[in-house]
């Protein structure tokens, strides 16, 4: 049985094709202005990569904020359920999931069989999201990867007290003016975002092993900041982190 999982996020749109639980193709593109076009494009690219035709696909499941934008989909599923399923696929003993996406962050507690026991989302405030990272990297005149990596060099992270991304940017500008090291500012920003996630985790309870998914899981600085703030080891898989929701959607198509 071949299924397609399409995760239409605010920043990127992801497609995963699975043949009996094995990934046969995956693609990530920017969502851009038109989520429907992005969904169709990423789907077609993945189909081409897999060397199959659309007719070979038994089920298409959409998830993410734009999950209702693909008329060809057989059904939709929330990203909460999909991230839970995806995390258990990659890490069968996963206890919980931290997912930091472009415009929200969430923490999901898992039960037996990948069941969602409880979850908490921040979708009201940009601080604690991938968007925050992008804005802060820009304030430091760096690309995202450079912004993440330089934080690892810091021995004395700056203290970013503002919890608002707009005011945090002002704080960063003040720190630059005061001559603070870029690595210290970057590390401070990573600590700031980590502290928000940690508050969410403790609100409904820490359960190990903690898996981190979403595009921000590729950010080594953020993973380190979270590990420091939670005092635990966090599991990530660079290959599947960003497509984790789409994996879950494809699994959902198999009736899992």
């Amino acid at each position: 049985m071949i299924t397609a999982g399409i995760d239409i996020g605010s920043n990127t749109t992801k497609a995963v094709l699975m043949d009996n639980k094995s990934i046969i193709a995956d693609r990530v593109i920017f969502t851009g202005y038109n989520a429907r076009d992005a969904a169709n494009e990423v789907f077609e690219l993945a189909v081409k990569d897999a060397g199959i035709s659309k007719n070979d696909i038994d089920k298409i499941i959409c998830t993410g904020y734009g999950r209702d934008y693909m008329p060809e989909a057989d059904r939709t599923c929330t990203e909460i359920t999909c991230h839970a399923l995806g995390a258990r696929y990659t890490f069968p003993d996963a206890g919980s999931v931290i997912d930091i996406g472009g415009q929200d962050s969430k923490y999901i507690l898992l039960g037996a069989d990948g069941m969602v026991l409880n979850f908490i989302m921040n979708d009201k405030c940009a601080a604690g999201t991938g968007r925050f990272m992008e804005v802060m990297a820009r304030a430091l005149n760096m690309d995202l990867e450079g912004f993440a990596n330089i934080s690892l060099e810091s021995e004395n992270p700056s203290r970013i007290s503002s919890l608002c991304s707009v005011f945090a940017e002002s704080e960063v500008i003040s720190l630059i003016s005061a001559g603070a090291e870029r690595s210290d500012i970057s590390a401070g920003l990573h600590d700031s975002i980590a502290s928000r996630i940690v508050a969410m985790v403790h609100r409904i309870g820490l359960k190990e092993p903690v898996i981190m998914t979403g595009g921000c899981a590729k950010n080594k600085g953020l993973v380190k900041a979270l590990e420091k703030n939670l005092a635990i080891k966090i599991m990530t898989d660079n290959k599947t982190a960003q497509i984790n929701g789409a994996i879950g959607a494809a699994l959902k198509g198999m009736g899992i």
Binding site: Y65, T78, E79, I80, T81, D113, N118, I120, M121, R203
Partner: protein
């Protein structure tokens, strides 16, 4: 806590025609508000009362009883809440205050020239309580200062445990002070027989109310919690009057007939949910419609199940016909808010069991800290003890600017998916 408006017509059957009870509710609420103004023009004494103040006592006088909280809920349900909140901000009131208070303050102290709804008649006396809302006394103190009128605050002990003898007598003594105060201000003699008659009316009406609420036990449910939200309007404004008996009898009778005729608000009901908090007045129609599309029904709510109960209970605490003041004092804590964690959880546990609940929606209400404060602890206990999935959503009962429909519905859809997996796995 509060009620609803006649305009909030989720009280429709599934052919989208208004029910007889819905039409009758509109009629009596319209008359209620018009009559208040006519009585005020005739020079009648006017009391503004908080909704938990026993209206049956006030029925012992020939006076107007205005209910500002109902007025605010009605304003919100007409989609006018945020504009009125904004007017209170312009007067300097904080946006962090309860939206009922902001609507009411904006409406009374800075009324729009082209007001679609005239303010309540100006009061001569204010009576509030402190057991269901910590803000209420401060909110009405504004009018106490602005209008230079007395403000009686009914001081009710918080309930960590069921009410005790001293608590009952403390409340009773204050009822007597209220009666004396109104006698002195109006020159009228209090008539306890009118209160007794009012108590009989309320008791009779609440029997019909429970009959109506029992329609939620049917599978599929004969009602939604939204129906009960709307119909609460009669309880908070016309308690103790013959109109409430007539309204709730009509409501219960009609609901039972609809069940017999297999007319259900969510015909393909797959998920039965329980709601915890005040109704989101600005979303009743939208939310109930979207839930119906998902085959989900919020069948019951702690907010409307509590009418006529005592601490921790979900059944009617019946009036024995003897001492109406003592009965009112005993049921003074009927609303959910003045309960400690154990009593709050007890109510939810009973409702989950009785109503066959699949999942719970905790509405974290930005405007009601008292109702929302314990929800996280209750939710954790619910998951651990009853293995019932639940979600926490952010709402505001009357200010739509603090509500995100998509944010709420992604959580609701995730809850339904959780329920599916619970049913498959457990």
């Amino acid at each position: 806590m509060t009620n609803s408006s006649q305009e909030n017509n989720t009280n429709e059957n599934n052919t989208n025609t208004k029910t007889k009870a819905g039409e009758h509710l509109s009629k009596i609420m319209k008359e209620f508000y018009i009559n208040q103004h006519l009585d005020a023009q005739a020079g009648k004494f006017c009391v503004w009362a908080a909704i938990i103040v026993p209206l049956e006592i006030l029925r012992g006088f020939d006076i107007i009883v205005g209910i500002p909280e109902n007025y605010s809920a009605m304003t919100a349900s007409k989609g006018l809440g945020s504009a009125q909140c904004e007017r209170s901000h312009q007067l300097g009131f904080s946006p962090d205050l309860c939206s009922y208070a902001r609507i009411d303050l904006g409406n009374n102290l800075y009324p729009p020239k082209d007001a679609q709804m005239p303010p309540l008649p100006r009061p001569d006396l204010i009576i509030t309580d402190n057991n269901n809302c910590s803000l209420l006394a401060k909110w009405f103190d504004v009018y106490h200062r602005e209008y230079n009128i007395p403000h009686f605050i009914l001081d009710v002990p918080f309930c960590y445990n069921p009410q005790d003898y001293d608590g009952l007598n403390y409340i009773l003594s204050q009822y007597k002070d209220i009666i004396r105060k109104i006698e002195n201000m109006t020159g009228q003699k209090y008539d306890i027989d009118k209160t007794r008659e009012a108590m009989n009316n309320t008791n009779e009406a609440l029997k019909h109310w429970k009959r109506f609420m029992n329609a939620a036990l049917h599978k599929p449910a004969g009602i939604t919690a939204f129906d009960s939200f709307v119909q609460m309007a009669t309880f908070v404004t016309l308690r103790g009057t013959p109109q409430i008996v007539e309204q709730y009898k009509l409501l219960a009778d009609e609901t039972e007939v609809r069940i017999a005729e297999k007319i259900f608000p969510v015909p393909d009901e797959k998920y039965r949910l329980l709601w915890d908090n005040i109704a989101p007045w600005h979303q009743l129609r939208k939310m109930s419609s979207r839930l119906k599309q998902l085959d989900a029904n919020i069948v019951y709510a702690t907010y409307t199940s509590c009418l006529g109960t005592i601490e921790g209970g979900i059944d009617l605490y019946e009036y024995d016909g003897v001492d109406p003041l003592k009965h009112l004092a005993r049921t003074q804590n009927f609303s959910v808010c003045p309960y400690g964690l154990e009593l709050r959880y007890e109510v939810i546990e009973k409702l989950v069991d009785r109503c066959g609940i699949d999942g719970m929606v905790f509405a974290n209400n930005k405007s009601c800290k008292v109702y929302s404060l314990m929800q996280l602890d209750i939710q954790k206990r619910l998951i651990d003890k009853l293995k019932i999935p639940s979600i926490m959503i952010d709402v505001d009962h009357a200010d739509v600017t603090r509500y995100s429909e998509e944010g709420v519905f992604i959580r609701i859809e995730a809850l339904l998916e959780q329920i599916d997996r619970y049913k498959n796995v457990c």
